[in-house]
Each structure stands twice: as C-alpha cells, then as structure tokens.
C-alpha cells in the first residue's frame, strides 16, 4: 500500500481527518477530472454537433473523443453503441421505455434479480404494469449467490429480458455475467447488465461478457455527476424507437413527424452534456493511468483486511457471509441491538462516512429479513488507516449505545 492515492483527490486535503467509506454511493473526484471539466469551459465550450465554427468543432471533438474513450474502456465494437445519459438510472429507464414499450406484450415475462438496486427494478415494474408482461424475480441465497441452475429454472420460453447487476451494491458479490448471458441467449432472452458498481472497480468488456445492454454512472467512477452511459448492441439500438424527443436527435422534421438521426444521436435529445463527457473522459484516462491491476489489488486487500477484522468483533454480522473474497469493496453489516441509522451517526461523530438504510434495495432487505443495514464501501484511494479507524469505531458502537457498560 505504498502509494498515497489520496493526494490526487483534493477533498482529502480539505478534510484530512475524514474517512470516506461511501464510494459505492458516489466516488470522490481527482484533481485531473475537476481540471479537465473546467478547462473545457475555458477553452472549448460551444454547442457541438451542428456547429460551423472553430469552437463548436472543438466541442464536438471533445464530446466524440469522450465517446471513443468510453467505447475503448468497455471494449464495445463501435462508438455508435455508446449513448451518453445522465446516470445509470436513466440508462436503465431508456431501455425499459424504448425497447420495452415497443417489444413487450402481455404474456411476455421479465426476470429481475431480487438483489437489484431500485434503479434496475422499478423501471421493470413500471414496464410490466404498462404492457401487461409478467414480472418475475430470480432469488439468491443468503450470501447473494445466483446459480446457473436457478437461472435456467427461472427462464421460460416467454422470458424476453433478464436484468441483473454485475456487482450487487449490498453484497459486493460478482455475478457470473458471461455465463448468465450465454444461458439467456440460448433461451432467446436479452440480458441487461447493471454495471454501476462493477465498471469503476474491475475491468469490464462488453464483448467478452456478451451482454445486450450495460448501464453505468460516471459519478461512481471518479467523473462528475450528471453523466452516465448506456451501452447497447448496435443491432438492438438501431431497431429501438427514440426515448426523449427534441433537438439534435433528428434528421428531418415536418408538422406530421420526424426522421431520426443515426446512432447514437437518436438517443441524445437536446443539448448534450459536453462538460460531463469531458470529465468522464478524464476519469477514464485517470483510471487507466492508475491501472486496474493496482485498483483491484488495493481494493481486494482492504476488503479482506476489513472483513477479517469485522468477523472477530462480537455482535457484528456481515451480510452475505464472512468470506473476504465474496465482497468487492462493499461490506454491509449489522450490529446486534443497534439500529443502522444510529450506527452511521456514531461513525459520523468519529468523522467516518458510511451509509445506513436499505441502500435502494428494499425488496432484497425484505428477502433477507431485515429492514435496514449499515454499509461501508471502498475505493482504491482508501488505505489501511481508513480501515483501522473504521474497525476501531465499530468496536465501540455497542458500548456507546449503552450496552455492556
């Protein structure tokens, strides 16, 4: 753990005593990303795509270069498969509105993993309500494992789409997406992968995974808020109707209707967020410079350290089991007799930022039989001291709530 990556992130200089363990909610931003977005506004800001002057060409280049960077980052075949959205939530809604409302009918089935984040569940609930399709859930065991057998058993000839996260934001467990994609495709089922928690932390290659759609957010991967990505296979995106309607996404408009622009512009209505895309580009460059080897090594080591310490503390239960290798930077836990909100408040009083609640996964919490939990989540910029401080506070929680005095 030699390297002090925190030095790249101005927020840690601003709050040197803060221990930030809520990166699964949103990541901090390196100076390089903050500077790149600012530089765009100083040196290249214009409305891109239709511009006929120098500055607009710069803006267009900045935007399309960012798209190409995203394409390379996730190994897509073509930049036409990369749609910029606001966040993973919008990406998933785009699929449900555009693909879903045009392809799904009563009698069809949607399969959703029960541990999904609300953003990969509510759009499907709403789609099912509107189209009359049936919504089914794939169940996991208490440590968050989905098996191939369970998936095979849940798929029917009517299952049109299966939605699952690559890494659960509660368990931190990686699902075998490539295997699931193969099984789905054998069944004629599309697979939507929620990469919100995986793309920032492990190398993701959409062609190797062979997923039909991948959604993720910039803000969880060191980029600014307000920019996200939808990857979709070109043949699918081409057939899908537009989602939002407006400027920039058309070829030709009359009083009666419109002819839509080519991919990916068909899905990017209105003035695009060039500043956000430039920030995401800088974040990708930054991640590549650090390297996933280093990122994975550090996050795995810190996770293992945390889990090993936590499982020795009496009255602490780790959700999803005690195996350090099953948690990828995300450790959700409970403390006997102490409500998670109180746990988070005690951590806060020690300047440690963790999260408490249902983590936007209420049906999962109902499934595992608790109404809320506490969660610490890591990024590579965390270090051993952060985990030590976390463990030290965790040891005091019950005492400070009046137990065992």
């Amino acid at each position: 753990m030699q390297q002090n990556w925190k030095a790249d992130f101005p927020v840690f200089a601003q709050f040197p005593d803060m221990v930030y363990l809520d990166s699964a909610a949103t990541s901090q931003k390196p100076a390089a990303v903050i500077a790149a977005e600012a530089a765009y506004y100083r040196e290249a800001n214009a409305n891109p795509l239709r511009g006929l002057y120098d500055l607009s060409v710069r803006a267009t280049d900045a935007y399309e270069n960012a798209r190409e960077a995203v394409r390379g980052f996730i190994g897509a075949a073509s930049a036409r498969e990369i749609v910029f959205t606001r966040n993973a939530t919008e990406s998933l809604n785009l699929i449900a509105y555009s693909w879903g409302r045009s392809e799904l009918h009563s009698g069809d089935e949607i399969l959703v993993a029960i541990s999904e984040h609300h953003s990969n569940m509510l759009p499907w609930q709403s789609l099912a309500r509107e189209t009359g399709a049936a919504l089914h859930y794939l169940e996991c065991d208490s440590s968050g494992v989905y098996t191939e057998e369970a998936l095979r058993a849940a798929l029917t000839p009517n299952t049109k789409i299966f939605a699952i996260a690559q890494i659960s934001n509660v368990f931190g467990r990686i699902s075998a997406i490539a295997d699931f994609a193969r099984i789905c495709h054998e069944n004629g089922t599309l697979i939507v992968c929620d990469g919100a928690q995986s793309v920032p932390h492990i190398p993701v290659n959409v062609q190797a995974l062979d997923v039909d759609f991948l959604a993720f957010s910039g803000h969880k991967m060191f980029a600014p808020m307000g920019i996200g990505v939808l990857y979709g296979k070109e043949a699918l995106l081409r057939k899908m109707p537009p989602f939002l309607y407006g400027g920039e996404m058309i070829e030709y408009v009359t009083r009666e209707g419109a002819e839509y622009a080519e991919l990916p512009h068909k899905f990017e209505a209105g003035t695009v967020n060039v500043g956000g895309a430039v920030g995401l580009h800088a974040a990708i460059d930054y991640v590549n410079a650090v390297g996933f080897a280093e990122i994975v090594r550090r996050e795995d080591a810190l996770t293992a350290f945390a889990v090993q310490e936590m499982r020795q503390i009496p009255h602490v239960t780790i959700i999803g089991g005690d195996d350090p290798a099953a948690h990828h930077g995300i450790v959700t836990f409970a403390v006997d007799g102490v409500h998670p909100h109180d746990i988070a408040a005690i951590f806060d009083s020690d300047s440690i930022a963790i999260r408490a609640g249902h983590h936007c996964a209420q049906p999962l919490h109902q499934h595992i039989g608790v109404s809320s939990t506490a969660r610490m989540s890591l990024a590579f910029y965390n270090d051993e001291q952060d985990v030590e401080k976390f463990v030290d506070t965790l040891k005091t929680v019950r005492r400070r709530m009046g137990f065992e005095r």
């Binding site: 409500h339 909100h341 005690i346 009083s349 249902h358 919490h365 709530m401 009046g402 137990f403």
Partner: protein, 141 residues
C-alpha cells in the same frame, strides 16, 4: 455531530423505555411510519376525563425515534389534548431551530433532540412519535 449526541438521556430512554409496552386500557391507537427507513411506531392513549391518563408505544425504530417517543409520553401523560398539541408544536419549533430558551425549558428532556436538525435525514426519526400523536389527537377529536 459531536460524540455526545447520543447523551445519557437518549441512551437511557432507548435502552430502558418506560412506555414501550401494550396498553390494555387504550381508548385510541395509531400507527405512524417512516417508510424510507422502515421504522414504525404505534402510539396508544388512554383518554379519561378529558386528559391523557396513560399512554404507551410499540414497534421498532432507531434510538432517536424510540427515545423521542418515550420522552414524549413522559411529557404528555397527565395533560389535556390541548396541552399535548402545544407541546408538539413546540417540539416542531425546536427542530426548526426557532425555539427560545424559555420554551426549551418546557420541553424538558426532549431538548436532548435539539441538534437533530443538523442531520436532516434523522429529523423524521425524531418527529415520528410526535407526528403520530398529532394525527391521533386530530382524528380522536
């Protein structure tokens, strides 16, 4: 939030609540909830001769919501509905940061929750019992 936010008052009311029990003689009950955190409190009151003769609560929640409900019952038992409503209004005023020192006195131990406004996410916990009370008094009228 300073370490002593969870002070003796709150911790004591949370660990050893006086009023966390059923109330066989209850004349009215109402369940209040904070859907987003799953907390739920059912408030039971026994109205007799125009005053709140007895009261209790059941349900689960964080230390803030439990302690707040327990402290509230300490305050309102023996009072008229009118007086209880006034206390509820004062409590809201305190959470809103607009209370005078004299008014704070009236709230007795509930004053331990004065700083909850610093944690907007917890305000709903602190007010759960009081909101349930207001609803109960309104519908019981």
């Amino acid at each position: 939030m300073s370490d002593n936010f969870y002070d003796e008052v709150l911790i004591d009311h949370n660990l050893h609540p006086q009023h966390l029990h059923d109330l066989p003689g209850a004349t009215c009950s109402h369940a209040g909830m904070n859907p987003s955190c799953g907390d739920e409190i059912t408030l039971h009151l026994e109205m007799r001769g125009g005053i709140i003769a007895d009261g209790s609560f059941t349900g689960i929640g964080c230390a803030i919501s439990q302690a707040s409900a327990d402290i509230m019952l300490d305050l309102i038992i023996g009072r008229t509905p009118e007086e209880a409503r006034k206390l509820a209004a004062l409590f809201r005023k305190m959470i809103g940061g607009e209370i005078t020192p004299e008014e704070l006195e009236i709230l007795e131990e509930a004053g331990a929750l004065q700083n909850i406004a610093r944690m907007p996410a917890r305000v709903k916990c602190a007010t759960l019992g009081w909101r349930t009370l207001e609803h109960l008094l309104e519908t019981a009228d």
